[in-house]
Symmetry: none
Subunit: 291 residues, 2 copies
């Protein structure tokens, strides 16, 4: 048992220890994890009353996960919650040398670059495209290979409030691609970056040929699916280090697109969203503690 986590957050060690604990302590532990702010401020007895448990359980919980008592656990939690001081943080220096922490450095740079990339997305272009999306009779979404995840996310979110009008191109496999279904009045969203998959380019061309509104999400103006696009949403795929282009920007665009389209949908969209959520909840797609 090589538990070599030198400095884990108290909540982490709590959660990882949960499953091996007695039932009651699990409940209490979950309560603490879910209400960690109150755990640090209110008293043990108050917590017990709200959680519907015995005060002693908290002491036992603390001891069960290695602390000397509730006081010590609480102290650890408060320290973990302490707001980030405007600290000098000498450690954040950009040491680039490859050492045992080369991985961490890689991740840091990646995240930094992606955060910067998000800033270069054109919000007006997104708003325009969303209006086009809102006005379309039907919406088709095409993305293949690594872009498939973006396409599916956009499809999923749009379907929440436009159930019948949104279609994922090739949703049931490669044979499901029917570019002939595009019509004038439709909107087609094509997502892609270099190297561009053949299917995405064909989708874009078919959309253009059919007279549908073409919305391209791509990494370059020179992208093949950008030719003849009515709306072109650009993001930086190559900016971040790593072996593979980044999709963070594309995801951000997709989400913004869905969000704006939703607000344009107004009360009707809101109602349909609620209906969908209710249906999901009723069919117990969602998990609840009381199982």
């Amino acid at each position: 048992m090589a538990q070599a986590q030198p400095k884990a957050s108290p909540l982490n060690e709590l959660c990882s220890a949960l499953p091996s604990l007695p039932m009651r302590l699990q409940e209490v532990g979950r309560f603490v994890a879910a209400n960690d702010y109150d755990a640090t401020t209110r008293s043990m007895r108050e917590l017990a009353a709200v959680a519907g448990a015995d005060p002693a359980s908290f002491t036992r919980l603390a001891k069960a996960i290695g602390y000397s008592g509730w006081d010590e656990l609480r102290a650890a939690l408060t320290e973990a919650r302490r707001p980030a001081q405007a600290a000098p943080f000498s450690g954040r220096a950009r040491g680039r040398r490859a050492g045992p922490n080369a991985d961490v450095t890689l991740v840091n740079e990646k995240l930094e670059a992606e955060a910067a990339g998000l800033g270069r997305i054109s919000s007006t272009a997104i708003a325009d495209a969303a209006r086009a999306l809102h006005g379309a009779d039907r919406v088709w979404i095409a993305g293949f290979r690594s872009c498939r995840s973006v396409a599916e996310l956009l499809t999923y979110q749009l379907r929440l409030f436009r159930p019948g009008a949104v279609q994922l191109v090739g949703g049931s496999g490669p044979d499901d691609i029917d570019h002939g279904a595009f019509r004038a009045g439709d909107a087609v969203v094509v997502i892609g970056f270099a190297p561009y998959s053949t299917a995405s380019v064909l989708s874009a061309r078919a959309a253009h040929r059919a007279g549908a509104t073409l919305i391209a999400i791509a990494d370059t103006i020179a992208a093949p699916m950008a030719e003849g696009a009515d709306h072109l949403l650009l993001y930086e795929a190559a900016a971040s280090p790593g072996f593979f282009p980044s999709l963070t920007g594309a995801i951000a665009i997709a989400q913004s697109l869905a969000a704006v389209a939703f607000t344009l949908g107004g009360a009707g969209a809101k109602r349909r969203l609620e209906e969908t959520e209710d249906r999901l909840a009723e069919t117990s797609q969602y998990f609840s503690e009381r199982g």
Copy 2:
């Protein structure tokens, strides 16, 4: 003339009342204002020791500002510091003012918040998880509903250099879920945020039960799939405005995970990636101008 500030924060009323207080109470009051976090957590006597004052001063300070005692002041400070609750989906869709550029503003806010959220991802946790991924015999990836897109992206990227070892849970539909397939030595990645889909929670539990390494990507430490997780990667889903939780952070984590796992794979991973790309190119999955 009544009070000009109808609903001032406790700290504000404290500061505005400071000048008219006795010297010693001013010192104590300033100390409380400067260390309000400790004021809510540490005890009165501890504060007195650090501030170099008498414990009674705190009680007197509270009464001087209009509270019944230190307990009441502390309670007010505690409530003021309470973190903003994450509202359910449809609940947060309301309340957005309609204007000519409301859409653009919405997008801007969203992108800004997401860029900020990326900064709070723990890169060391990702590096650790990637090592676990690298060491695993097989890798299972579970994500459902809106998280499905993240799961698919991670599956796709990992498969590029570990073709046989990576499996998407439920890849061929809901009937394809076989939690019994998890074994010790496997790694299981579960992605989810509130409201948590039942399938994801079941996957996490099955992984834990099977003795597999559980890597959870979630929005909260209190997430059900985080229980018993060997690696917990957190991102901010609720931070950004919009009708739906943001997946940008989860995508960023997935990509970083894949990137680090790839570097750990070394020359072998690089070779397999090249093989995969060559194969895709040969079968004309990729578009070329001369195509």
